[in-house]
């Protein structure tokens, strides 16, 4: 087991890889009472279509990662949630675009029993046709819950408007049709491909002794054998450069119109570290311009060009790249024009040196705060592990950013593929 100490952050952690390939991280927090344990696979909503090394396609219905997340909680005796509750542990799971995480938190010092239960239920899918059918009603209600939330709907519709083929155009949970098309066999096939220990990471953040944790996990894993697994990866059809829709209006029974102005870029064909560097460089420029750090920001608020809902996202993923601005406004055209004008200004504006230094301080402080909470630590470390760039490497990248790198990263973006999406009070009509 390798021990790592970061003196500046006053943090200590241990890493180890078991013989079966399972990655372990123990984040040691002796001052805390509670622990968070996360067991995760880098299989998320974007992976519903896969391909093996021989070029064989393995297609599943969209939302299958999320469906699996629901069904893994089932055991022969019923639902493992009940068992966790009996142990005084809160168990839950979430599916994102790139990973599925199963986790529990507890303040009871003895972690052995719930830790074994977490590993056992994630490593043993037990489902019946009947239970799969029953779950469909629950998942469809969950999807409806998100559909009626204007904020999440705006993001989902923006992705749909940007991408023809890329799986970002599907909701994480799929849709009613794909959920209803999911079968026991498909779930089992998908599980076999994507839950092998060699693909997964287990992290414990808490006060427990790392050596004891390792012994428990080794004992658990020694008793199990895993069939060799096919090497499969995400299958992506070629994505056209163009957006699907330049303007979409989604009528909803809401009082406030929400608007997004999003840009689609060609994915960066660089290393993960370089992608992270470029993303943070662009984020620094956007933050220095589209926030209260810019003296004009107050005028934009006063003139009601933007309101306190306004914000932006920049996401340079492994196989996609996009930027999105969002706002509440009755005049989507004026907001679009405003964004276009400001992006032109930014093309010729260098980030101020002092501002860049202040932003570095801010991001350093925010990173430090991750270590206040066990769940935050566990999820952040898992994501960094799957992304291929560590938490502290990312901080170093931010710390080393200079004005020229910021300007070059932004200058390389082409803003010719734009999509505007409106969540509109219901009297408007949908248009393509």
């Amino acid at each position: 087991m390798k021990k790592i100490v970061n003196a500046q952050f006053d943090e200590t952690w241990y890493t180890h890889t078991l013989d079966n390939g399972l990655n372990l991280i123990f984040w040691h927090k002796p001052d805390f009472v509670s622990a968070a344990v996360v067991f995760a696979t880098p299989y998320g909503a974007l992976d519903y279509r896969q391909i093996d090394k021989e070029g064989n396609h393995l297609d599943f219905p969209s939302g299958i990662a999320h469906f699996l997340e629901h069904k893994l909680f089932e055991s022969d005796e019923g639902d493992v949630m009940d068992d966790f509750s009996r142990m005084g542990a809160n168990v839950n799971a979430f599916t994102s675009y790139n990973e599925t995480c199963y986790y529990f938190t507890t303040s009871h010092g003895d972690l052995k029993e719930p830790l074994n239960l977490l590993i056992d239920f994630v490593q043993d899918l037990r489902i019946t046709e009947e239970s799969v059918e029953k779950e469909k009603g629950i998942i469809n209600q969950e999807l409806k819950m998100y559909l009626q939330m204007p904020d999440s709907r705006l993001i989902f519709e923006t992705f749909k408007a940007l991408y023809h083929k890329h799986p970002l155009n599907r909701d994480i949970g799929g849709d009613e049709k794909s959920v209803n098309a999911t079968t026991r066999q498909l779930l089992e096939d998908c599980y076999k491909l994507n839950y092998h220990p060699s693909r997964m990471t287990l992290i414990v953040a808490g006060p427990q002794k790392p050596q004891t944790l390792l012994e428990w996990i080794e004992e658990n894993q020694k008793a199990k054998s895993f069939e060799p697994v096919k090497d499969v990866g995400r299958y992506l059809e070629e994505e056209p450069e163009t957006v699907v829709s330049s303007h979409t209006v989604i009528p909803m029974d809401v009082a406030v119109r929400k608007v997004s102005v999003a840009y689609k870029f060609a994915p960066l064909k660089t290393s993960a570290k370089e992608r992270v560097r470029q993303e943070w460089a662009i984020r620094c420029l956007l933050e220095s311009h589209f926030s209260s750090l810019n003296p004009d920001y107050q005028n934009w608020l006063d003139n009601e060009i933007i309101n306190d809902y306004f914000g932006y996202e920049i996401d340079l993923g492994k196989d996609y790249a996009m930027m999105m601005f969002y706002n509440e406004t009755e005049d989507a055209a004026a907001f679009t024009q405003f964004i276009e004008e400001q992006l032109k200004v930014l093309k010729s504006r260098a980030v101020d040196y002092q501002q860049l230094q202040l932003l570095k301080r801010r991001y350093f402080g925010e990173a430090m705060r991750t270590f206040n909470n066990m769940e935050d630590i566990a999820v952040a470390m898992i994501r960094n592990q799957f992304n291929g760039v560590s938490f502290f490497d990312t901080l170093e990248i931010i710390d080393q950013l200079d004005q020229q790198q910021v300007q070059e990263a932004f200058g390389a973006l082409r803003f010719d593929q734009r999509s505007v999406v409106e969540i509109s009070p219901a009297e408007d009509q949908t248009q393509a």
Binding site: Q8, T105, S107, Q141, M252, D253, L293, L358, G365, M368
Partner: protein, 423 residues
């Protein structure tokens, strides 16, 4: 925790802990919850953390906060039964990680915002007021556009008519139009002069240093105030209301008076009962409505401790509305009959104790617990609470649920064709 009275009804509390990377300053101004003051104070909260005399622009505020390694300054209002607090919070990194005099600057910053707001003459800044009113109206509309938040607020209004539960810190659009700058300016002066104030400092600090800094930065005077927070919501006749919207799901909220005050010896019995009824995966509501019948994704009960009310919320298809209402009531009846096994009772106790212990690892939960002790004039240690939970018995739970009756139901019902319209 160390506490010290700075002057009458102004208390300082220091929670020393090296667990967290931050130091939190939380100033809690307490006063009676009543309209239109509750709405006026919401506007005041929006204005107070935005700018101040020393940092008169957003940019200057941002630069100052970034200089403190991404510190944050924020203000919010929260109801505590018959009371309302306006909390001003400044969070900054513990200076041991980066060096410098961060704590001193953090306290000075809080004093600037709280004691020297941006003014024009005798009044708070009209520009700041104008912006806060725009933000307030956006908040009102957002709550209205969020089906579950809207349904919960409407059910509370129905249940708490003429009582504190019926008072919202967010006004309606019409009520918001009537708020004036003069009202907000007067509310600020009153808050500083007359409110009870609890100042919390949490983090790795030297108590003597922080006490001296706070005393120097906040020269406040005695004030007279009778604290009223917890009470019991009562309602004679049950009432049911619904509205229809083109949404994808029907949101149902049901409320029951508990007849149990926060300071009552039965309080932890009620909390344990609520866990069995609707707060765990093993709970009756979760098992019967979600797991056995697949009628919902989410269903849960919660206790509004300061108002003496239990609430049940879920999202379902409108076709199942009557069935789910009946199922909820059937589960309440099962609780009243003691129809839950020993394992469920023990699980509920374990989970409740687990959540109480976990609050020791959350900086805000620690402050909230101490603040509750201040409001109730009691000292309940975690050990004492855990012991109380362990001694809860089935019969006591049964009696509490037998005395409950659903007095308010609000349903935000989906129009039949909503889903098709939106696809």
């Amino acid at each position: 925790m160390r506490s010290e009275t700075l002057c009458k009804n102004v208390e300082m509390h220091i929670l020393e802990t090296g667990k967290f990377k931050d130091v939190i300053l939380s100033f809690r101004f307490f006063n009676e919850l009543k309209t239109p003051d509750s709405w006026v104070r919401t506007v005041l909260a929006l204005m107070l953390a935005d700018r101040c005399e020393k940092y008169p622009t957003k940019r200057e505020v941002s630069c100052c906060l970034d200089g403190l390694y991404g510190a944050s300054a924020s203000a919010r209002t929260t109801t505590y039964g018959q009371g309302q607090i306006l909390e001003f919070r400044v969070k900054a990194l513990n200076e041991k990680y980066v060096g410098g005099d961060l704590l001193q600057r953090q306290i000075a910053l809080a004093a600037q915002f709280l004691l020297h707001p941006l003014k024009e003459g005798d009044q708070l800044s009209p520009a700041l007021f104008k912006e806060a009113m725009i933000n307030l109206k956006a908040m009102i509309q957002r709550r209205s556009d969020n089906p579950s938040a809207y349904a919960a607020s409407q059910c509370a209004k129905l249940m708490g008519q003429g009582q504190a539960l019926g008072i919202s810190v967010l006004p309606t659009m019409e009520e918001a139009e009537a708020i004036t700058l003069e009202q907000v300016s007067a509310a600020y002066e009153k808050m500083i002069r007359e409110d009870r104030i609890d100042m919390f400092v949490e983090g790795q600090v030297d108590a003597a240093t922080v006490t001296s800094l706070l005393k120097h930065a906040f020269p406040l005077e005695d004030r007279e105030l009778e604290i009223k927070s917890k009470y019991l919501t009562e309602k004679e006749q049950p009432e049911e209301k619904s509205e229809t919207r083109a949404i994808d799901q029907t949101t149902l909220v049901m409320m029951y008076p508990t007849h149990v005050a926060l300071s009552s010896p039965d309080y932890w019995t009620l909390r344990t009962g609520s866990c069995i009824f609707g707060q765990l995966p093993t709970s009756l509501l979760f098992q019967e409505v979600r797991e056995k019948r697949s009628l919902c994704y989410s269903i849960y009960s919660s206790i509004l401790s300061y108002d003496g009310v239990m609430s049940v919320s879920t999202g379902i298809d409108s076709a199942h509305l009557d069935e789910v209402k009946e199922l909820v009531e059937q589960q309440r009846q099962r609780m009243a009959e003691g129809d839950f096994d020993e394992e469920m009772l023990n699980t509920a106790k374990e989970m409740l104790i687990n959540s109480i212990l976990a609050s020791e690892d959350d900086p805000l939960s620690m402050i909230n617990r101490e603040f509750q002790n201040c409001l109730l004039g009691q000292t309940r240690s975690l050990d004492k609470i855990s012991d109380e939970i362990r001694s809860v018995d089935r019969e006591a739970i049964r009696k509490l649920f037998a005395a409950m009756e659903c007095k308010a139901v609000f349903a935000l019902i989906q129009k039949e064709d909503a889903h098709e319209e939106n696809c």
